[in-house]
Amino acid sequence: MERRTFLKLTGATALSSALARPAIAAPVELRWWYHFDNPQNTPAELVAKFEAANPDIKIKAESIPWGGGNDYYTRLFAALVAGNAPDCAQVKLSNQARLLEMQALEPLDSLITKWDARSDISDKIWSINKASDGHQYYLPLHYVVLYLYYRGDLFEAAGLKAPTTFDEFQQAAKVLTKDGVSGFGMRGGAGGYDNWGPFVLGGGANFSKGGMISDAALKANRWYVGLATEQKVVPPSAPTDGFKQIVTNFKAGRSAMFIHHVGSSNDLVTALGDKVQAAPVPHGADGKGWTLYGDESNAVFAASQNKEAAFRWISFLSAAENNVALTKLSGQLPVTTSGAAQDTSHQARFVKASTDSLPVAGVLPDSPKTADFVGTVWPTNMQQALLGQISPDDMMQAIEKHFNG
């Protein structure tokens, strides 16, 4: 047999044997990026449950370090640019505009319309998550709303009630600031915009043109910065205090109030029991207020080869009992109405403070500039204002310039 003939026969045999083999479709492998406050928590049980119900899909869940958001999003954007992004990932609204600018997101409108559990998520949550172009790219996963934690025992000893207005808040902070205790554990470091928002955005500032330099906005910011520079009701370390410091101070009795969400409630109850109480953030004299709606959603990326499978997975996570199981891992609140009724992972007073705060809950602007505002513009200007290096009005001018030029 000639060599050429031999090669032809061998090739033909190999091809025919491959074609003759019965077709066994390999399961689709989906990569999903997630982050939990406690990186020890794993969604393995949820993955196993999903894979049992969907044998054609394998989930590769990858825990990505959060790092205050910077680590997570830098990796996500770099992966998107490099063409190595996951099929779907946890995302927050503050980065939706950037992801849209990259054309990285897959619109989910048609898939959501057909999703039978759609109505289990409230219209308010759907509308908060809608993009500026009117499309729905995010599928809500869990949420938190920021509220006020206060030390019930210290308030009781001082004959005070939970503050409902800015004036009551300041008065309480002044009364409680003594003997090494600061009335308010202000967060001036990373992430502190969510402490600033209730008092300054709630006091009249907004992100539209001129909204940061209106008389009301400037007055509200002067008042908030003044809690540190004039009233001295915050710890001296406030300019750089982050989450860890404000929680530690509160638990140790070194501060009487701080602002955070339900995610820290179990830890606080373990440390303080019934001494820790919760209330919606105070509002201004005009009755208006603002607090941060801390969103978390899943998105499917436009470059994914398995968009339908990816939606099956993320919609599985947002469906009632799975959503409750997931929030036990994340420490946050279920987005589903039926899930909220089943949720027993948080004590009632903290859930109530969250839901009572929902009417004034809002998000930061859907702008590519928002992430930089959170990461650098707000902390550097706030810290300079707290240190007296710039005035509170200069700080607001800088924020106005950042968003509106």
Partner: protein, 306 residues
């Protein structure tokens, strides 16, 4: 083959062999050069390319060429100048104090005492620790409420109330400098100690016989004898310290405000927080250009020692 062709063939062989020999070294060098091109030359060229474009990570398809726009932006950016000034303070104080502390330690470790070997091993510990560990350790020591430093100072009645070391404009940069001085002084100690071993005893004995006191022996005999070692260590450490940002990043993230911004940190934050990769590349190249002077001095020194 006729005899007449023989000289021509010899000529061909004579030129062909040397040519192969000339190319052979390049063939041996090729793997190293290729690796260097891939991991150094290409990234540098890519950085230059990015610095000339308005390249933002979330707008990869829209990165227009802007020439030197990023560089001119830097020179009109007040945060750039703040960071540059902090870099000068950072390098000057860190390298200066590391050298002085390292010199003192080396002189001590060069003395005879029974646990000298153990001391020489122990002194390397700060250098061996990962930067993140060092930064966290110092952050905890500086902690306003629980920190060791405030506790000791209060017990000694040197202060009346705790100091928020990492939250004040007047203390933060100094506090971070102290942490890096602590981490880096063993490098100088080890380098100088090695240099001290080479100073001839006869020279020191002669100086002693001539009536030189300890300080004179140090300044007139020891330091001149190890000047080469000191100069090399200073150059190397200047390059490393100028580039270092890990300790600052972990301890303060550059804050409060811009109090601990240095140029490498500013470039890092522009790249990884603002995602302005083009501007960050320009900042990095400016730092590189400034460091080239030091690198040039180091390379000249290294070449002289070859």
């Amino acid at each position: 083959m006729g005899e007449g062709f023989a000289p021509c063939l010899r000529l061909v062989n004579a030129t062909a062999v040397p040519m192969r020999r000339q190319l052979l070294p390049f063939a041996f060098l090729a793997p190293a050069l290729l690796i260097e091109a891939a991991i150094i030359v290409y990234p540098v060229l890519k950085t230059v390319w990015m610095s000339l474009h308005d390249f933002v990570l979330f707008r990869p398809a829209n990165a227009p060429f802007i020439g030197l726009g990023n560089f001119t932006r830097a020179f009109t950016d007040p945060v750039f100048w703040t960071s540059a000034w902090h870099s000068v303070i950072w390098i000057g104080f860190v390298v200066g104090f590391q050298f002085l502390l390292g010199l003192g330690t080396a002189l001590l470790l060069n003395q005879s005492f029974w646990w000298r070997s153990a001391a020489r091993a122990l002194v390397v510990i700060p250098w061996a620790l990962p930067s993140v560990i060092t930064a966290l350790m110092w952050s905890w020591m500086y902690d306003y409420d629980l920190g060791l430093i405030n506790d000791v100072l209060l017990r000694l009645h040197l202060i009346d109330a705790p100091i928020a070391w990492l939250a004040r404009a007047d203390t933060t940069l100094g506090a971070v400098i102290v942490a890096l001085v602590w981490q880096g002084f063993p490098f100088f100690a080890v380098m100088i100690l090695a240099g001290l071993q080479t100073v001839p005893h006869e020279l020191l004995e002669a100086a002693e016989i001539d009536g030189a006191n300890a300080f004179q022996r140090l300044t007139k005999v020891i330091l001149p004898s190890i000047a080469e070692v000191i100069a090399t260590a200073l150059l190397l450490r200047t390059i490393w310290v100028a580039n270092s940002l890990d300790i600052i990043l972990v301890m303060t993230g550059g804050g409060p405000g811009f109090t601990t911004y240095t140029l490498p940190l500013y470039a890092f934050l522009k790249a990884y927080t603002s995602m302005e990769i083009g501007y960050a590349a320009a900042l990095s190249l400016i730092v590189t250009a400034l460091l080239l002077l030091v690198i040039y001095a180091y390379v000249r020194r290294a070449a002289r020692e070859l």
